[in-house]
């Protein structure tokens, strides 16, 4: 069995990459993908912990998170589509509807 430390380390690396991508990218789809990365980092942590303690709760949470992430992607893409149809862009720097 793989040492959970590696799994948690992988989660941390994935999380950092996701966060970094979400900060630095202007493209909404890439930011959404980065958010998925973050979620998956969390899932890895869940699974690692579940394996470590022999408890299925972590697996169950991971499955729920995957399901919710799928729904979230669907909603996110739908928003981007409608945004693109109105503004002709999905560049986040050009869409500042909440400003001030």
């Amino acid at each position: 069995m793989i040492d959970p430390t590696y799994a948690i380390g992988l989660g941390a690396i994935l999380f950092t990459i996701g966060l970094w991508g979400a900060f630095t990218n202007k493209n909404a789809i890439i930011v959404l993908m980065c958010a998925e990365l973050i979620l998956n980092a969390v899932n890895i942590n869940f699974i690692a912990a579940a394996a470590q303690y022999g408890d299925v709760t972590g697996w169950v949470y991971a499955v729920i998170a995957i399901a919710i992430a799928a729904a979230e992607v669907a909603i996110g893409l739908a928003i981007f589509l409608s945004l693109y149809s109105q503004r002709e862009t999905i560049n986040l720097d050009e869409v500042r509807l909440l400003k001030n």
Binding site: F23, L92, D93, R96, K99
Partner: protein, 766 residues
């Protein structure tokens, strides 16, 4: 346990205090209803009934007190005034002690476990002074209440607001009764302030008239100046004695403590501060300016508050200070204050009389006369205080008694004079109305109010034939004030003047020559201005058509006038009862033996204290006083203002006076115009510019700087706070708004930072 009068004494102030809101609320409910106006006199009936009950209670209390004191042996004839041994007596209430003291409610001040004082209990203190003033107050309140039924309720200006008058009237009388009965300087002060409030409310009764509103403010603020000093004096006294109760602060032990601590100077200062309060309340120079303006109130108010009762409160306060002067342990320490009291009195006596010379308003003459007469009493009390403080007990007690007697006589006579003047004003007013209406002006009864002054004596003249009762009352009252031998004020005024001279002639008393001389001059001046008022109003020919139409037909008004006329004449009887001696507590009994009593009092008037080393000088002084007040003053007034009535015939007892005045007037050829146009007359007419001076001082040094401070405070602090809140929140919101960039990445950043911060916090706490 037998209930005696003193057990009910607490009801004397309480009944009117309870009736005050009752009349106010009932009046508010029933205003305008015919039966409320007719049968209830808009509350007047209630007021008179209440005052009647109070008079009954007072009389039973007083008779109980006199009965108890009569049993007191005259062996204590030279007793010290300070020897009021107060007893707490509930069962056998009226015992043979000079000071009666009873306490109902007690509050204790403690410091942890130690009792500091229990002096906030309300109790009743009875001695000669309080008994006499209680009678004066309750009797005159009833008389003036009856007078008001006629005066207030027949004038349509007062319609639907008389209930306010009667309610405030009762509150005032409660204040007066409470002050007289209080056994404690603090309670005295509390009731004193109640009276001050009622004085303000009643002067401003016609508050829609600017001059009345101004007068009310002036009276309130001027007396407030004195009251602040009074309060400081009370605090100093509290500091010295840890108590303000008469029985405690007058006790030998407490004063011995003060002397042992070397605090006589502080006591002297405290009494001086309290005296300033008395000066304000009794309208003495320099706090006299409010009294003449206070005549803006309805005449019953002037009669009650500003002549007969409230202005006596200041005198009563000085009377309550006398035991300090009389205490052996303080002998000589309080002389300066005694001299100050006498000097202020002497100066005011002449000063006020001088201004009264030129006043045209009948009530203003009486107001200045009140100031002048109160000043006599102050001088008498000052002389008494000086004599007692310097060991001349017998003469001092005599002066004290004479002052109290003058207080009594003056209150009775001045109350009556004011009511008589009110009668004149009221009838003049009505006559004026009648004439106006007969000319066909039915639309508005008051449109010509401003052109005709019903109080101006130059509009009157020759009223003696038309108003016999009023003219008689006015004549008797004036004689009492002037001091025509054997009538009322004669006894007391001679007593005061002789006592002051006696004090001046005593070793070390040379500083009292000033007040003594001023009083002597003042006696002649009193003779002049009182006679001037009477002759201007009642003798000669009618000066205006209005004065020709006057009839004396208002109900209720003559009743108190008649009663008081006989009361004033009855002061002969009082004098024959050794009244001065009784009031000065030198004699324990009142005996009614007219001839020997009169002889006794006459002897006393010439020889206060029974000392005959200076008797020839005092005899001369008395004769001089009688000559000045009876001959010089009145005959000058007759020469200037006397005259025969034209059509009417006066009553026989007035006819000789009118004839005499006519004779004097036609024989003498005084040219009055040069005097009347002189700058002195103008200065007197302007009240010697003192009022203007105060107005200017107030404006320049008090009102404007204070207004500036207020304006600064308003602009900087209050407005500043409001504007600061507004500006601050705007700035903050602008700053916070700049954080909402609208960029999704910034929000993510903030969320992450927030989570990071939460982690940091948890980590820190753990």
């Amino acid at each position: 346990m037998m209930m005696s009068a003193i057990d009910y004494a607490l009801l004397i102030p309480i009944i009117p205090i309870v009736a005050f809101p009752v009349i106010l609320f009932i009046g508010q409910m029933f205003n305008g209803m015919p039966s409320w106006r007719k049968a209830w006199k808009e509350g007047g009936t209630i007021a008179v009934v209440v005052l009647g009950v109070v008079l009954g209670l007072s009389l039973s209390l007083i008779s109980g007190y006199i009965g108890a004191v009569s049993g007191w042996d005259a062996g204590n004839a030279n007793g010290d005034v300070s020897a009021h041994s107060a007893t707490e007596s509930n069962d056998d209430a009226v015992s043979a002690n000079v000071g009666e003291y009873d306490s109902w409610i007690n509050f204790h001040i403690t410091d942890g476990d130690n009792l500091i004082s229990e002096s906030f209990g309300f109790g009743i203190y009875l001695d000669h002074a309080s008994v006499m003033l209680l009678f004066v107050a309750s009797f005159l309140c009833l008389m003036i209440g009856i007078f008001s039924l006629g005066y207030m309720n027949t004038d349509e200006i007062n319609l639907d607001r008389n209930h306010r008058f009667y309610a405030e009237f009762l509150l005032f009388s409660a204040g007066m009764f409470g002050m007289v009965l209080a056994d404690d300087f603090l309670w005295l002060f509390i009731f004193w302030e109640i009276m001050g409030l009622c004085s303000y409310l009643l002067i401003g009764f016609y508050y829609d008239k600017p001059s009345a509103a101004y007068a009310a403010k002036k009276a309130f603020l001027t007396t407030r100046v004195g009251d602040v000093f009074l309060f400081i004096g009370l605090l100093m006294m509290w500091n010295l004695f840890n108590s303000l109760e008469f029985a405690t602060v007058w006790s030998d032990a407490a004063i011995a403590q003060v002397v042992a601590d070397g605090n006589q100077g502080q006591l002297h200062l405290a009494l001086g501060m309290m005296f300033i309060g008395a000066v304000g309340k009794s309208a003495q120079f320099p706090l006299h300016v409010w009294l003449p303006d206070a005549m803006e109130g309805p005449t019953p108010v002037s009669a009650l508050i500003h002549a007969a009762t409230m202005v006596n409160a200041g005198l009563y306060l000085v009377v309550r200070m006398i035991p300090f002067f009389a205490n052996d342990q303080l002998a000589g320490d309080l002389s300066t204050l005694a001299l100050t009291i006498a000097w202020i009195g002497g100066f005011t006596a002449v000063f006020a009389a001088l201004i009264a010379f030129v006043q045209k308003d009948i009530k203003k003459v009486l107001a200045y006369s009140t100031m002048s007469q109160l000043a006599y009493i102050f001088t008498g009390l000052g002389a008494a205080a000086w004599l007692l403080n310097n060991g001349h007990t017998t003469a001092g007690l005599f002066a004290f008694g004479a002052s109290l007697f003058h207080l009594f006589n003056h209150a009775m006579a001045k109350g009556m004079l004011f009511m008589a003047s009110g009668s004149v004003i009221h009838e003049m007013h009505h006559a004026h109305h009648k004439i106006n209406h007969s000319h066909g002006d039915h639309d508005d009864g008051h449109h010509e109010e401003d052109h005709f002054d019903a109080q101006d004596m130059t509009n009157m003249g020759g009223l003696a034939g038309k108003m016999p009762i009023t003219a008689t009352a006015m004549a008797v009252g004036s004689m009492s004030i002037i001091g025509i031998p054997l009538i009322g004020g004669f006894w007391s005024k001679e007593g005061i003047i002789a006592s002051t001279w006696k004090a001046a002639l005593t070793d070390g008393g040379f500083l009292l020559f000033g007040p003594a001389l001023l009083l002597l001059i003042g006696a002649g001046m009193t003779g002049f201005y009182m006679s001037r008022m009477w002759f201007m109003t009642f003798a000669g020919k009618a000066n205006t058509p209005v004065a020709d139409e006057v009839v004396e037909d208002t109900p209720f008004i003559p009743i108190p006038l008649v009663i008081l006329t006989f009361m004033t004449l009855g002061a002969i009887v009082l004098a024959s009862m050794h009244f001065i001696g009784w009031a000065s507590e030198g004699f324990g009994h009142l005996s009614l033996d007219i001839v020997s009593g009169l002889v006794h009092e006459l002897k006393h008037a010439f020889l206060p204290g029974g000392d005959d080393s200076v008797s020839s000088i005092l005899f001369l002084v008395t004769m001089l006083t009688i000559f000045l007040s009876m001959i010089v003053g009145p005959f000058t007034a007759m020469a200037l203002y006397g005259g025969r009535l034209d059509a009417y015939k006066a009553k026989p007892w007035l006819q000789w006076l009118i004839r005499l005045s006519h004779k004097v007037n036609s024989r003498s050829h005084f040219d009055n115009t040069a005097w009347a146009e002189s700058s002195l007359a103008e200065a007197l007419d302007k009240r010697l510019y003192i009022d203007d001076f105060y107005d200017n001082i107030c404006e320049k040094w008090i009102v404007v700087p204070f207004a500036n401070i207020c304006a600064w405070f308003d602009r900087r602090v209050i407005d500043g706070a409001v504007k600061g809140i507004e500006y601050g929140s705007q700035e903050t919101s602008t700053y916070i708004r700049s954080l909402t960039t609208g960029s999704a990445r910034d929000y993510i950043m903030m969320a992450v930072l927030g989570i990071f911060a939460i982690f940091l916090l948890i980590w820190g706490v753990a």
